[in-house]
């Protein structure tokens, strides 16, 4: 019986590893097409893979040891005496220091990426040059939608709403290919902006205006979700991030401005 149980536990570990191995083929891996579409996203993915490898090695090692110990316990003859141990000081030192060292390594290794994400002005474009992004929009999260305010074409975003500001809902337009900043705020409870394909996540906290930097490398639409439980509609608080080239972005702004200041007057059609 004991053998069966030890096999069962080892088998579970094998299943876990196998699932992880085949997960990307079954589309159980990173969202979208699996690639990160921002510079920082790529770095975050690298970190992810590093940690995955470290953890996988540890997992396989410990599960193998567990399996061996279980098997030994199952197959030991009843007359064999158990080994009575008072503990091993050196063993304890080893299995404290090694994991700490690994964790410390991970903590220090990711500091650079963390700094790039958090610290103002510390974003580098694909050539490695420091670029200070401009606030492209103010993103207001509210239950259960995203309201976005853009400055008029050619003007910078002001903290207070301006008469020529452009408003949209659930559709964040950004220029692609370069770093942009979005000012995040919330109208009511805490929300969080989460753009999985760009690997961006940031909580929106009441009374704070939080700058979020990222760059979208490709001209396509990305999905944006809310990642902070904010009420009964949290699950459907989705939005679209529309990343287009600068020219297209400007053209869109013009069109949106014209639609927003539409006075509804249409010249009567000349009777022929």
């Amino acid at each position: 019986m004991g053998k069966l149980w030890s096999l069962f536990f080892v088998f579970s570990a094998v299943i876990a590893v196998a699932l992880c191995w085949f997960a990307p083929d079954w589309n159980w891996w990173f969202p979208g097409d699996g690639k990160a579409h921002s510079t920082l996203g790529g770095k975050i993915d690298d970190l992810f893979h590093l940690i995955l490898i470290i953890v996988a090695v540890t997992f396989i090692g410990t599960q193998a040891a567990l399996g061996y110990v279980l098997w030994r316990g199952a197959t030991i003859k009843p007359e064999e005496k158990a080994l009575f141990s008072h503990g091993s000081h050196s063993l304890e030192v080893i299995w404290t220091i090694v994991p700490s060292a690994v964790l410390l390594f991970i903590a220090l290794y990711q500091l650079d990426v963390w700094a790039q994400f958090r610290i103002k002005g510390a974003i580098r474009d694909s050539h490695g040059k420091m670029v200070r992004p401009e606030p492209v929009a103010e993103l207001t999260a509210r239950q259960f939608e995203w309201r976005i305010r853009y400055p008029a074409k050619g003007k910078p975003l002001q903290p207070k709403p301006q008469p020529d500001d452009i408003y949209s809902v659930n559709e964040l337009h950004i220029p692609s290919g370069r770093p942009v900043e979005v000012t995040l705020r919330t109208d009511d409870v805490q929300h969080a902006i989460f753009i999985p394909e760009l690997r961006i996540k940031q909580d929106a906290v009441a009374s704070l205006k939080i700058p979020v930097w990222f760059d979208a490398l490709d001209n396509r639409d990305y999905e944006m979700l809310c990642a902070e439980l904010c009420g009964w509609g949290h699950y459907k608080m989705k939005a679209k991030v529309v990343a287009r080239s600068d020219e297209d972005f400007d053209a869109w702004k013009e069109q949106a401005s014209a639609e927003q200041f539409d006075d509804g007057f249409r010249k009567p059609v000349e009777a022929k």
Binding site: L4, W5, Y167, V169, K236, D263, F265
Partner: protein, 516 residues
């Protein structure tokens, strides 16, 4: 199975029956949540519940015949709802094809792409109409030769000119599915604004059953247009819990708008039929009995007095009507009404609704300014401010002198419309009986849309279902309305010059325009 029994140490043993039990337990608990769940049902208005039982049954039957239940919908062609499906008529049996081959030539109006294999076929006229061919589906449809082959029995063969609809009702079903998933929890299964989440929301979700929607582009006597509903679904209503469903998809949005219109028609149909049956309520029976009793009491007093005075010719007053007799006579009266007038009343209501909802999408019902927006300069805003403060419009009585929505009218007790009772709370109320604060214009929050044309429409026709009146074509010219629009839209950025009022709340200032 390996069994180990040892008296020395506890061991884990597993008898076969334990494994079987475990399996059964796992399956049972896993499947516990499966199944169709409770069936959704349409709710009925309070007024319907207050009718006498026979009248209530008549209305419920009429509604079921006309609209069905949320699971078994009835698509009544009378109403201007795009139920979905492509109408086709038989042109001729396909050339050179045996009659028994179930292939016909058809001319299709509507979306030809819906003629896919497996789509349902509904024969409206001809030999196959009715129950005989109820389960027909499309086998193939050839777009080049325009021939349709159906699956099902070959007999009876359809004749030339027979009308059929392919994929009937699929848009309504899709709309229902989208509605149940996204809208029902606030707006309720019947669109009564009383879903499970509604109790936590302020303002409350719209109750469609009055057939009134607030933010429309149509004239004040017309219903909401499809465009308006489309806009609301797409962009939401900022400042309320109605979110934007921008990502819903074009087809889903269209179908849910149709379903909402259908629910609104059903609700208003019920309301109007309730009004038609207004005499047949429990309250009116009780009222009749009470009135008859008071009349009897008064007459008895008079009779006793005349008797005492010695007048032997005094006429004894009739006994008052008993409750059971009143009920019986009401039931009989209703039976008479049902036999003679109910059908006509139902037809009238259906015609009225069909016309009203069709008219709503006409170009003529839409409000379009006759002049472009007046230049948004200081002069226009000042003219707008003076109009805002004037006796012509009295905007400030509700919206306040600084546009903060705290005008004097918010302190008054208002009368319930059509009655002499007052609302229990101070301030204005909407047509659904909810308290309604006049808009705070300084917030820059425009529920009906922030385009200048949207604000123009609010001023031109007012807001249906609320005390906000219309000024277009009557009180104000289009240029004056634009001046007020410019003023109102500037309030988000600058406070207006305050005006003085006297004790009666009437604005007095040296530069008020004279009331013409």
């Amino acid at each position: 199975m390996m069994f180990r029994h040892s008296s020395n140490h506890r061991s884990v043993t597993t008898a076969p029956w334990q494994l079987v039990c475990g399996l059964a337990l796992g399956i049972a608990s896993g499947l516990a949540g499966c199944g169709t769940g409770p069936k959704a049902e349409f709710s009925y208005r309070e007024a319907t519940q207050k009718l006498i039982p026979v009248a209530r049954k008549a209305i419920k039957d009429t509604l079921e015949d006309g609209f069905g239940t949320p699971h078994n919908l009835v698509a009544w062609e009378r109403f201007p709802v795009a139920y979905g499906g492509a109408k086709a008529s038989v042109v001729a049996a396909a050339e050179g094809v045996q009659p028994a081959s179930k292939t016909i030539s058809v001319s299709v109006e509507g979306d030809v792409s819906k003629l896919v294999s497996g789509a349902s076929v509904l024969w409206l006229t001809g030999t196959r109409a009715g129950e005989k061919a109820a389960a027909d589906t499309v086998d193939t449809y050839d777009t080049k030769t325009k021939t349709l082959t159906w699956s099902g029995s070959a007999e009876p063969a359809p004749g030339v000119g027979d009308v059929l609809i392919v994929g009937f009702g699929h848009a309504l079903q899709k709309g229902r599915a989208v509605y149940m998933k996204n809208c029902m929890h606030c707006h309720g299964v019947s669109g009564d604004g009383n879903g499970s989440t509604a109790q936590f929301l302020n303002p409350r979700p719209r109750d469609y059953r009055l057939g009134v929607f607030k933010f429309t582009s149509t004239l004040s006597a017309e219903k909401v247009s499809r465009d308006d509903l489309h806009r609301v679904v797409k962009y939401g209503i900022p400042g309320t819990y109605m979110p934007s469903f921008l990502l819903l998809g074009e087809e889903e949005t269209k179908s849910v708008v149709e379903y909402v219109r259908w629910l609104a028609m059903r609700g208003e149909f019920e309301k109007r039929t309730d009004d038609d049956l207004g005499d047949f309520t429990e309250d009116s029976i009780v009222d009749t009995v009470k009135k008859s009793k008071t009349a009897f009491d008064a007459a008895k007093v008079a009779y006793d007095a005349t008797l005492k005075a010695g007048d032997k010719d005094a006429v004894k007053p009739d006994a008052p009507i008993k409750l059971t007799d009143a009920r019986k006579s009401a039931t009989e009266a209703f039976a008479k009404f049902q036999a003679s007038d109910l059908d006509q009343a139902v037809e009238d209501t259906a015609s009225f609704l069909a016309e009203a909802w069709t008219r709503a999408d006409d170009e003529a019902s839409r409000i379009a300014p006759t002049v472009p927006r007046v230049a948004d300069d200081a002069a226009s805003r000042e003219r707008g401010r003076l109009l805002y403060m004037s006796d012509k419009t009295k905007c400030y009585t509700c919206h306040g002198l600084l546009g903060k929505g705290n005008g004097a009218a918010t302190e008054d007790f208002w009368k319930k419309p059509g009655t002499e009772e007052l609302y229990p709370r101070r301030g204005l109320h909407d047509a659904w009986g909810n308290p309604l604060q006049p808009r705070n214009l300084t917030l820059g929050q425009y529920r009906g849309g922030r385009r200048p044309v949207d604000v123009f429409r609010r001023l031109y026709a007012g807001i249906k279902g609320t005390p906000m009146p219309g000024f277009g074509k009557t009180a104000l010219k289009d240029e004056e309305i634009w001046d007020i629009v410019n003023f109102v839209m500037s309030l988000q950025y600058q406070s207006p010059q305050p005006a003085k009022t006297n004790a009666g709340g009437h604005v007095v200032a040296t530069d008020m325009p004279e009331a013409k």
